[in-house]
Symmetry: C2
């Protein structure tokens, strides 16, 4: 006779929420880009310089994805030469605590490895 585990559905639900987040945020570059932009790098080349090792092609693709997910805003100014400016959206702020947790864990993890 199988146990009925009443919280299985709840666990599955949590996992689904987690996967929703991962779907938006997954990959090597999206969060690093977000941090760079949030910290004030608004120009394409500045972002590229902040996020070490990224190529223009990847940066361009990822910025588009972030724009589609309403996390980044792209503005073009009709100056000469036309200037492009990237900023994080207000909605992006909702990611702040999560990202800070990730940064904190990464720092701790790094220290942990060095101690060994």
């Amino acid at each position: 006779m199988p146990d009925i585990q009443p919280d299985n559905a709840a666990i599955a639900q949590q996992i689904r929420h987690l996967q929703d987040t991962l779907y938006v945020v997954n990959g090597k570059w999206k969060l690093p880009i977000l941090v760079a932009v949030h910290q004030g790098n608004s120009r394409f080349r500045d972002i590229q310089r902040s996020v070490q090792g990224i190529t223009t092609k990847v940066l361009s693709t990822e910025l588009k994805a972030l724009e589609q997910n309403k996390l980044v805003v792209r503005r073009v100014y009709d100056t000469s030469p036309p200037a492009v400016e990237y900023t994080t959206s207000p909605y992006c702020e909702t990611l702040q605590t999560m990202i800070l947790e990730m940064i904190a864990w990464g720092k701790n993890h790094h220290d942990q490895l060095r101690e060994k």
Copy 2:
């Protein structure tokens, strides 16, 4: 004359921490597996049932990676038939707040999309 931006190094550092975290945690399945195990699913097949859609091969691979990163412990009992038990390590607890943040954000994001 280029501005010297004194916090560029600090930003780069944060991005590096973030990437350290992503390196451990990245991919579609690692965090969902961690949640399932943490919630008390200790048997291979139970984990597989909790993490909907995962195949035995992927689960097996990911569990090995998590074990190598000291987030999951695998114990084999020499009973008949031999039983295998997966549990989260104490170190894995340090990920808790981060994961909870990710679950919370995923839930919020989902609700956000439904409102539109």
